[in-house]
Structure formats: C-alpha cells, structure tokens
Symmetry: C2
Subunit: 203 residues, 2 copies
Amino acid sequence: MTEDEINARHAEKMAKKKAVRDRMLAGKTIEKGLLIVHTGKGKGKSTAAFGMVLRSIGHGFRTGVVQFVKGSWDTGERHVLERFPELVTIAAMGEGFTWETQDRERDIAAARAAWDAAKAMIRDPSYRLVLLDELNIVLRYDYLPIEEVVAFLRDEKPADTHVIVTGRNAKDELIEIADLVTEMTLIKHPFRDGVKAQAGIEF
Amino acid sequence: MTEDEINARHAEKMAKKKAVRDRMLAGKTIEKGLLIVHTGKGKGKSTAAFGMVLRSIGHGFRTGVVQFVKGSWDTGERHVLERFPELVTIAAMGEGFTWETQDRERDIAAARAAWDAAKAMIRDPSYRLVLLDELNIVLRYDYLPIEEVVAFLRDEKPADTHVIVTGRNAKDELIEIADLVTEMTLIKHPFRDGVKAQAGIEF
C-alpha cells in the first residue's frame, strides 16, 4: 500500500469510528450525581480523586473532602487547595493509619466523627462533589457498619451530588450500589528496588 | 472475646505491622526521578496524573504538561492550573482524537511537534515533573517510533526528573523501562446505563 492509500484507509476507518461514537453518545442523556469508587492495590486512588476535586473546583463547584485516615494526603495537595478557600472544605478527621495509632477504640471514635462530618456535607445540597478519602479502610476494619454507610449513600445522597469513595479492599456491598468503580492495579513499583517515597510522587 | 481483649489483640497486631513497615521503609533510601505509566481501560489515568501535577506544584516544583491529544483535558483543569502560572507550563500540541481529525498526516505532524516540545521540557533540568498526557495513544498508532521514544526516556531524562506517561494500551517496550506502572481497570461504568458525560466527572 502507498502512503496515500494508508492515509485514505485511515480516514475511512476513523469516520466510521466517529459515527459509532456519536450514535453511542446521543443515547446518553441522563445527568445524575454518581457514586464513584476507586479501589485496588495500585497507586492513584486518592490522587485521581484529588484530581477530580480540583476539576470540580475549576468548574466553580462547591466541593467537600473528608479524610478518614490522617496522613493519606499531604502538604502538596493542601497548598493547592488552600488557594480556593471559597470553594473547598476539608475535614481532616481521621487519626493516623491503624498501625500508627495501634488504638482500636480511638480509631473507631475518629471514624464515627468523620462519618458524621461526611453525612452533613452530603446532605447539604450546595456541595456538588464530596470525597470520602480512605473510607474503604475504615469499612474494612468494621469501624463503621457497612449497612449504615450503604443505606445512607443509597437513600440520602441528593440526586445531583457526586460522592467519591477511595481506599483498597472496597466492600462488595459498596461496589453493588456504586455507579462507577475503577480498580487501580499495581503492575510495577519502584519500592521493590529500594527507591524511597518522594515529594511530588508519593506525597 | 470481650471488647477489651479485642482491643488488646488489635494493638498487638498493629504494633507488629508497624515494625514490619518501619523495617521495610528503612531499606528504601534511593531518591531518583521516576518514569511512571498510567494505562488500562479504566478511568483516572489522566486525572491521577493531573493530581500529581498539582501535588508537584503544591511543593513548589516547576512542572510541565504536554498534551498529545487535544480535548483529553478540559476547562476545569485549565482554570486550576492558570492559578499557578509561575510553576506550570502547558503545551497543548495535539489535534483532536483520531476519530475527530480523520487525518493521519496531520495527526503525525502534531505528534512530532508535541514530542519535540516534550523533549525540550525533559532536557531542561529546571522541570521536576513532566506529564506526557496520552502519549500512549500516539505510540499505539505508530505516529512516533517507539524505539525513539524509549531511547530518549532511557538515555536523556535527567536523573532527578519525574516523567508520567498516560493513555490506554501502553506498549511493552515502555512498560519495560518504566519504574512505576499502574493499570486502571474498569469495573463498572455509568455510560452503560445511559448516563451522559458530566462537568466535574468526565471533564
């Protein structure tokens, strides 16, 4: 085939692809607040959620963040969010990771306080997006009853509000009621080769 | 078991977990610029990269973005990045998606121009992080020779510079030389139920 033939065939193929896409998109007409879950052992769960928070802010939407585990976000993120005080509310409610606190009762009390803050934000329809960062960790340890969380998100989330839940080991009950679930899978990680956590990458 | 026993057992288990983690982290002492790849059919590839760009900016690092496909980012992201003009450079070089342009020659010329911009940023050691957004798409269509891209990233990237490459269908040659590879896997997507793309979520 000559270059011209390759180019002509490409144009034809892409025109067909566009027609298929346009037909598909024309059938998508529903707008609604989504329940989104980022899970899996790979990286990017909280980072992608952070990206969505900033995108939401960029659109001028009021946005809430509840951190169920302290230390999962860092100064880099905070500095950026602090530039948008009129749009973003952060509730850093959690204690450190479970292996840092080593105190189950304190972890449970912190989880309950964070969940109360989360419910208040989600019930407030002025929030368009609420991120429940690392909620999956808390659910995994049964620090909050999954039935209570699922019932609230299913029955009390306003129709237009997007909620993002992050953390590995998402419970099946949560995945069941979610609209969009992405699993981040680790394929290759530099920790294995002795590389340490670095500013801008890990935190 | 009583609550007290459960709590005591938990504390013991977490203390052990912390000791294991501390030992592991103590062995991680290397700092180096990473080549990071976000691939897979799921969502969050560009969004997690966008989150890392903002985290990098939050640390005060000079950061570059090259968009190999126009339209993969949107106004939400742009509005946020525009608040940090002293730290971030964006080169939106690509044409639209291949099925929008339907013009292979124009796509190839755009890919080459974007790659030239990318090389200039990566060679400049004042950049700590450079995002090559949707480069995988361009490589998949062979608009740039994979050998050339791999040789450059392997041999010419400064040791301290982090480079992130996004896009589905990452080539094996790229994964081979990458330090950190995450695959975003789609588990559940609302498009299937007729929900349309929405501001703050899809763009």
